[in-house]
Amino acid sequence: MPFPDVKLANRPLHFLYLCDCSGSMAASGKMQALNQAIRQSLPGMAAVARDNPEARVLVRAVRFADHAAWHIESPTPVDQLEWRDLQAGGITAMGEALKLVAAALQTPPMEVRALPPVLVLISDGQPTDDFAAGLEALLRVPWAQKAVRLAIALGHDADLEVLQRFIGTEPATSGRSPRRPLQASNATSLAQYIQWASTAVVGAASMPASRVSETPLEPAAGNIPLPDLPPTVLDPTDDVGPLVW
């Protein structure tokens, strides 16, 4: 006879992409590379979600150019997600994007109980609107304060200072946690960072992984200990030229 038809109680884990779609993203195939990186990361993300029955992983995405708008508005289970390509064109309304996310992280519509949300901001340039106001609005929301905030800088023109302000300042104690913007200088490293954020970080935020003694057990270094960054795997296809920005 079957085991009783019950399953582990779970909590939602909201994962939000904030994607820069300004005109400069059209250069050197950056927009295509980002679309590809996210699309390629979905099966791995679905596998992590499957392995973590304590979490219900729900994905949303915001695009920002002249204005910010929802690219995926309703929180979508990762195994049902179809990634439509983002198109580049316009300026960089990053502040507006943060306000949009701030509104979405209010309770309601956010659940009363959840796992820490994961926010991933990807940008190749400078905000053209009032970034500070957007960030202030975001950080007033308790769920945004609790969120794991990551930033990926695409190429050399990204505003690292702005991205650092988004993820927060690095606590002095943490030795290895990548509390700095991740700098993707080519398509391969972009794909690796997207994969890391959507699998290892989602895993850490939903069901804790094994701890080693150097992991700070004190909650000093943020509310979720971030996993190691992916190793630099030497890519045999590097020679034949992924995009170089």
Binding site: M1, P2, F3, P4, D5, V6, K7, L8, A9, R11, G44, R50, D51, N52, P53, V112, R113, A114, L115, P116, P142, W143, K146, R176, Q192, Q195, A200, M207, P208, A209, S210, R211, V212, S213, E214, T215, L217, P219, G222, N223, I224, P225, P227, D228, P230, P231, T232, V233, L234, D235, P236
Partner: protein
């Protein structure tokens, strides 16, 4: 996934005479990557570490070498077979700049699935199989602890189940060390870690294994977490500081007989409320022992041998509800209702053995420990199995799984041989003589429909 070892390539490793072919990558995490490999026609698994993992864990290589020398405590571990370093000739094929190493282990057969599939309710598995898996887990840790070793990182992620029979495999044995020898970097997985380890007051060892083992057993038996009740519901954002409070600073068992602050919620924690009453009182008591007194006093936790004994006895008490067919685990003697449909359960036929008693229900088995007080509980080599008659499933028989004949005795003293592989009808017999010892067939005072 970016694979460190090139799929399809043949690599030479120091100490291996033949090259190892990398068949395919199986998975990867923050520690390293696992590959299916072929060594002279034999399929094995290879775990290859990331340099960051090796750098963090200075004792890793020493522990692996010691484990390889010690060999596996029993066959339920995917135990390291050999430590591998790549030869200079194959070094350029490894896609990492820093030096690294890995180890070979048996390949997990495809019938075994991750235990999280069971926790998520996606696995077709029965209560008998779950209890057998729990027994296997307790048995494996019993063998490990008796060898003076401890596992340190018990979690749902390191356990695989074969849902058809309930056998298990334990992977990620690279933290195993001699208990008390402080070589490892691992502390455990939050949610499974003993409170004293989570709070940094103790290093993981055999005592903290006993806590983690009880958590894992509880999660397999109930599909719920022993510490997630009302106190978890009061937490809005379940992050690290919250988990530390819930599992370390103020941990309260959801079924603590005295402290009722963390009772399961009737809607959110329905899994625990449905499944917990299924299990007999002595089994529940071991959880209470570990999660109440044993929460703060590691030496009071239920031992692997106690778990083995009580899990084996629970399987001996298995009976099927005649109304709905669901598996029940009756306390001896007491009249009972089916946990699933609330029908009264008839008093079953009982096989009375020199050491213990087994209720007659299809698939229940007699083992050497039922006959020999000195034999430890072991479910691997059954001597007899209760079977339903192929034409009339209500008629139960006992199949001889031994190599020698039994003699079956009717109430009026007639004796008939039961050859190996044959079954004898329990309704007609009073006693069975086997080479292992006698079996007395005790029928209920009121005849039940099954008899």
């Amino acid at each position: 996934m970016s694979w460190i070892l090139p799929e399809g390539a043949s690599l030479d490793f120091e100490g291996l005479e033949a090259p190892l072919q990398i068949i395919r990558g199986l998975g990867g995490g923050t520690q390293g990557q696992v590959y299916e490999v072929d060594l002279e026609g034999e399929r094995l698994a290879l775990k290859w570490y990331l340099p960051a993992c090796i750098a963090r864990d200075g004792g890793l290589e020493r522990r692996l070498v010691a484990s390889i020398r010690a060999t596996a405590p029993n066959e339920d571990f995917l135990w390291p077979i050999a430590l591998l370093r790549v030869s200079p000739a194959s070094r350029p094929l490894i896609r990492l700049r820093q030096e690294s190493f890995g180890y070979l282990m048996p390949l997990r057969p495809p019938a075994y699935v991750g235990a999280s599939e069971h926790a998520a309710g996606r696995l077709a598995i029965g209560l008998r199989q779950v209890l057998r898996a729990c027994f296997g887990l307790a048995d494996a840790f019993h063998a490990l602890h008796l060898a003076g070793l401890c596992y340190k990182d018990v979690s749902l992620g390191n356990l695989f189940l074969e849902p058809g029979g309930g056998s298990i495999l334990i992977c990620d044995n690279d933290n195993v060390a001699v208990d008390g020898a402080d070589h490892g970097a691992v502390l455990g997985t939050p949610g499974f870690m003993a409170p004293e380890v989570l709070l940094g007051q103790a290093r993981p060892g055999a005592d903290s294994d006993l806590f983690s083992l009880a958590v894992l057993l509880f999660r397999l038996l109930t599909r719920h977490d022993p510490l997630k009740g009302q106190m978890e519901l009061a937490i809005r954002c379940l992050d690290e500081p919250a988990r530390r409070r819930l599992c370390g600073e103020d941990p309260v068992f959801i079924f603590d007989p005295v402290d009722d602050r963390n009772r399961p919620d009737p809607i959110e924690h329905v899994a625990a409320l449905i499944t917990w009453p299924i299990y007999p009182r002595p089994l529940q008591a071991l959880f209470e022992q570990t999660f109440c007194r044993g929460m703060k006093q590691p030496s009071r936790r239920a031992l692997t041998g106690q778990w083995k004994q009580e899990l084996a006895r629970t399987l001996d008490r298995r009976a099927l509800c005649p109304a709905c067919g669901q598996e029940n685990f009756q306390a001896s003697g007491a009249p009972a209702l089916c946990w699933s449909c609330a029908s009264p359960l008839p008093e079953p036929i009982t096989l009375v053995l020199p050491h213990g008693a087994v209720l007659a229900a299809p698939d229940n088995e007699l083992h050497p420990h039922h006959f020999d007080a000195l034999a430890g509980e072991d479910l691997r080599r059954p001597l007899a199995r209760v079977v339903a008659h192929p034409q009339d499933p209500r008629r139960l028989g006992l199949r001889n799984l031994q190599a020698a004949a039994w003699s079956a005795e009717t109430p009026d003293g007639r004796v008939q041989p039961v050859q190996p592989g044959e079954s004898c009808s329990l309704a007609a017999l009073a006693r069975i003589h086997t080479p292992a010892g006698p079996i007395a067939v005790q029928r209920p005072t009121r005849p039940s429909p099954a008899a």
